[in-house]
Symmetry: D2
Amino acid sequence: MSDKKTVVLAYSGGLDTSCILVWLKEQGYDVIAFMANLGQVDEDFDAAREKAIKLGAKKVFIVDIRKEFVEEFIYPGIQANALYEDRYQLGTSFARPVIAREQVRIAKQEGAEYLSHGATGKGNDQIRFELTAYALYPKVKIIAPWRIPAFFQRFKGRPDLFEYAKANNIPLPVTPKSPWSMDANLMHISFEGGVLENPKHEGPDDLYQMTTDPRKSPNEPDVLEIEFKNGVPIRVTNVKDGTEKKVPLDLYLYCNDIGGKHGVGRIDIVENRYIGMKSRGIYETPGGTILHQAHLDIETFTMDKEVRRLKQGLALRFSEQVYNGFWYSPECVFTRECIAKSQEGVEGTVKVSVFKGHVYILGRESPLSLYNEELVSMDVQGDYDPTDVAGFIAVNALRLREYGRLRSKMAADK
Amino acid sequence: MSDKKTVVLAYSGGLDTSCILVWLKEQGYDVIAFMANLGQVDEDFDAAREKAIKLGAKKVFIVDIRKEFVEEFIYPGIQANALYEDRYQLGTSFARPVIAREQVRIAKQEGAEYLSHGATGKGNDQIRFELTAYALYPKVKIIAPWRIPAFFQRFKGRPDLFEYAKANNIPLPVTPKSPWSMDANLMHISFEGGVLENPKHEGPDDLYQMTTDPRKSPNEPDVLEIEFKNGVPIRVTNVKDGTEKKVPLDLYLYCNDIGGKHGVGRIDIVENRYIGMKSRGIYETPGGTILHQAHLDIETFTMDKEVRRLKQGLALRFSEQVYNGFWYSPECVFTRECIAKSQEGVEGTVKVSVFKGHVYILGRESPLSLYNEELVSMDVQGDYDPTDVAGFIAVNALRLREYGRLRSKMAADK
Amino acid sequence: MSDKKTVVLAYSGGLDTSCILVWLKEQGYDVIAFMANLGQVDEDFDAAREKAIKLGAKKVFIVDIRKEFVEEFIYPGIQANALYEDRYQLGTSFARPVIAREQVRIAKQEGAEYLSHGATGKGNDQIRFELTAYALYPKVKIIAPWRIPAFFQRFKGRPDLFEYAKANNIPLPVTPKSPWSMDANLMHISFEGGVLENPKHEGPDDLYQMTTDPRKSPNEPDVLEIEFKNGVPIRVTNVKDGTEKKVPLDLYLYCNDIGGKHGVGRIDIVENRYIGMKSRGIYETPGGTILHQAHLDIETFTMDKEVRRLKQGLALRFSEQVYNGFWYSPECVFTRECIAKSQEGVEGTVKVSVFKGHVYILGRESPLSLYNEELVSMDVQGDYDPTDVAGFIAVNALRLREYGRLRSKMAADK
Amino acid sequence: MSDKKTVVLAYSGGLDTSCILVWLKEQGYDVIAFMANLGQVDEDFDAAREKAIKLGAKKVFIVDIRKEFVEEFIYPGIQANALYEDRYQLGTSFARPVIAREQVRIAKQEGAEYLSHGATGKGNDQIRFELTAYALYPKVKIIAPWRIPAFFQRFKGRPDLFEYAKANNIPLPVTPKSPWSMDANLMHISFEGGVLENPKHEGPDDLYQMTTDPRKSPNEPDVLEIEFKNGVPIRVTNVKDGTEKKVPLDLYLYCNDIGGKHGVGRIDIVENRYIGMKSRGIYETPGGTILHQAHLDIETFTMDKEVRRLKQGLALRFSEQVYNGFWYSPECVFTRECIAKSQEGVEGTVKVSVFKGHVYILGRESPLSLYNEELVSMDVQGDYDPTDVAGFIAVNALRLREYGRLRSKMAADK
């Protein structure tokens, strides 16, 4: 081991983190490049490895953490019906802690005391990375170049990075940069920045990568049967062709395929970042949208309504915790445990039709449902006495009538 | 005024309430038939009036309360983003208090001490009707035949009603009854009961009445600009043909047209009734779905995130209050006031595309948004110092690091 | 087994349930008298047994369920810091489900299909008893005489009961009835009704039975050290005389002794009954008040603040569930599990002084506290960089400044 | 106006802010000393003014903001029943925004672009001051010496300040510093730091200043009648001697007198600071404790229970907002408006006995209460039909019985 300080850099192979890699060396660090395989599309991991070595990385770790991502992060999100501000499925938010956990693992293994990343100084990701790191590795030191004046004042724009790259033999990107920023993993792609910063500016057609334009998607739906146990999907079957998937990663990727094919899961929102600014983002989350809808259906079908009401409150907090980067906080651990508890009877099969950007629930069944067909039937009495409801209403009305009495009295006194 | 007791019956013109009308007379009541025009499709109000008179109603009131329904009930629902159990837009729940309020008004005007309705003994509507009545008319007496053994034991099924109708010169329905039950108003149609009681049984294609089958809907979207002020829509403009609507009722009906044309707003859910049983329902809410999505967008765009978080909690309670029939309760009055307060800056225009069963947000603008394009920009620094975030993260991490410290200590002590 | 229907009556030995016992026989039931020993003061169980037999009870069960009451009901309440409407410690509410559970157990064992109780028709207890019974014994039938017109119209007042008692050889109470109603168990005594129904009427000095009048209580405090583990007390030590208690029932009774001696735990409140009416009650809960204060202290000392915030929300719901009689509901089971989870690190010792009606916290220590004396010290820096806070504040202020900016703009536009 | 930059310093007259005043001048600022009169005990404002001028303050503003403090800050706190973490009455938290608002007002009036304060870098007060300042004066710049390395590294302990004081002719404090830190205003005194940093170390007897030791307080209670309107006290009357106070400031100070005389309002807690560390504090809040108890009573007496439940949730958020320094945030403005709305019918008189450290509620009356003595009476039927409750229970039990049915089925299937 050299005398130098060692830093593990979350490396993407792109221009920014390539420049950061070189810059860190310039500052006197040994740099270990770490790249997570989260199923991001069109990523050439071998080329990225080669490039990192060429730029002087002491070691390069490229780790496939797709399985953990799906099973330990996305699945609890499905259990929670997690949506941030009613719409965002948290595709980036779930990815950050699993990446940072692996980065910390490598840092500890390699005896590195420093972590670095290329996240911007205005975003959520810096927070999600660093809170995870501090929680799992309390003594760690973080180097966030985009928050260090010596760095961000030197690299004020893309041209400065280009110049630096040229001067340091960093290969320049061959494809022109798209006029927005992207973050991709197997759960979703997010788009923000650039022309999208004007919240009125419509997202262009060529932006989307995981989903077909619904105007061009098939004219016949796919119909899936999705089976859940403990609130997570355990089997997806395509009714049409009999395709069946059970392994979480396979199952999830298959839902992506079907959702993507039918243009499902596109949203365009303005959201509130943790640091308090509003930000416009476009997301495509094909598989997640299908599973969200299906889970919501089986949960409502099987769970007691009052339990669900409590769970709903916890899930709102969970979504905020995850969005804000607090996956490894005491409160998020607690919330996950409570939510998992609530899912013990969430079991059964939901049938959905996926068509032209939308997911339609067709029906559901469960061995554990509290749904009682005879009880609810309009044609059968079941174990139910309608005369009871008169008393139920009368007692509920008692408070309302007292309130009416008081208001009348007050009005009369005036 | 006769010596007889007078009852105001919520009358629909159908078989059930026609039989109830006659039955009430049989029990010695003077019956006033009341029918609310809430924009239900295909309703022949004149025929219903004639029929009621023929059956012996002392008076018949048919009142157009569509304006009040939209402005006083549906619009607060839009402000709240009201959804019951994450999906149901409450189309029946909003209708019940406005109907019952009118029924009470007529009862007071006519000196009637009794109200009656044909709601079943297993449903939510009986509760919504009666809680409204008790709240607004504390001394009222309710006659709910479907909860009175002398009635429901006599009329055990449809054949018994038919027989009674024949015996009493009640015209029989000419069209065969659909194999499910329906409730329609300008906001939505709900379907439940009959074959739908099996939650696995798919809703048949010919069930829907307000919305086109998305497989047959136009292949080109309609694009609307929806302007909001104080959280309610004040103008809808069709970008394609320039159609513009501003009067709430017109605006709402126009959204229904566009949504219906494109097959928007169909859901198939299992919900939890107030009385504690699970029930399967299919709903179509075309205009409501468009306005819900658009309002959600403009609200998130303009409202402070912490205000919204509080408002979201209140809105969840609001949805439950409305669903359970407590519109005229102290808590619902309070909740509406708080929510209305939160909407004071919810102002601006949202552009939406309506296509094949789905509503896509395209962009938004507002004179009052907290969105600050310069602040959030990836290219411009704005009035923002990224070095601040290091401190923000460090302080947020303090608690997580202490927690880590404690857990390590606990692990070491073992 | 006779041909007669068998009913298990919750019997107290008092005038009401004695008359009910005889009346049930009159209606043709075999009556099994059940009496729970919950540590109510001055109860003569042997006399009650003898009386029940004399009145014709087929069997009498007197069961000591004090241990279960403390360990399974009161202790979860301590974990929750349960207070209904901020003040009431739920002494009666916790007692009802443990009584009803035992009553159900006996009914099942004895093959009885009926349960009966003497709770009034305006109170909470009828609901607590019956919801427990229905949850644990879904097919049970309940006989609640005070809601049966044939009973309550016959026994309109105390004189009617006296007359019936005389006519049926039911021994009359020798002591005059106090001008209020009481419910006692080892946790508390509640007083309501009679002269207390006027909410302005002060509770008289001679009402209290578990607590000394603070004006007459000792002039020197007792000081206790209360040790908790998993959020429940596991040891109480009197600093003065070294008395030590560890067994839950003993420990709780000892806290009652100390609290009672110093006049601790008296409250006079108006509360909202589940059925919607407001009711005035006076309660004395000596030991519960001490343990509530001590637990609150050790919990805040050891629990992460964000976990506690979630737990606080759950505990509010728990208190309502318990008050309303839903102990054996899915939601209360879920809530208890979540709360218990939150208590896993609530461990340590609190020192309290009990004096003149008040409990004073003197100090606390814990092997598991997140409290870090060095970190918080005003004199030592610890592992803390104060410059971080500038960034923390700046980022938190970002949203407030944008809001200020918008409001200024709006004001300027006017 | 000089060329120099001008700073308004929150000045206390003590050693710290005297040194800061001189140090700010040393850094080249014109210093305006601002001192708020919030009714802190034993403060010699004239001496402080003289001292500030002697030290070179360009101007000195000493402003009596006690009235605003009580009416605009403490009173909304009473409406909210505000308690942070169930115990702390927020005496310091309410004071900070009113001080900072006045400091901002002076800064704007004097054309000063800088504000400074002597709050430590580990505490809550720095945040409360600065968030208020940023919200009301978005362009302001803050100088927080205890977070500036050049300052805090120079003044590492009290001896360094002493030396600096001597060298700069700053008069040294004549009384020895108490072994803890204090913050006083008319609402409370807080004690923390020093020997109190050990959470096990008992607060010494000579610490308290606003309250008599209950062991030495009078042996006879004072009895007060406290009249509320819109949820705030409008009259306090001492039953014994007829003293009556109506003006908010007078009324509040009188409650302090009575509470202090009887040793009311002492608490010893560990609380969670906003920055995430746990901190031990001792507080005495005599008048606030009396008014808190009285308001809680009149609120529960007059407010509908479901409204109160919503208000309780909002009040929990309010307490956190205030504690964390967000008084002038959009969410706190919103919360205050909602809470104020809830208080419109909170009207009536509560009678309390104040004795030996405790406040006892004796009774209450209101022209607007929903309490209905006849309705709740055990002796009178009132407008109430007990047979209704059977139906109420049966309907509530429906869900529990279904749940029982499902669990039995599940158990049987195993």
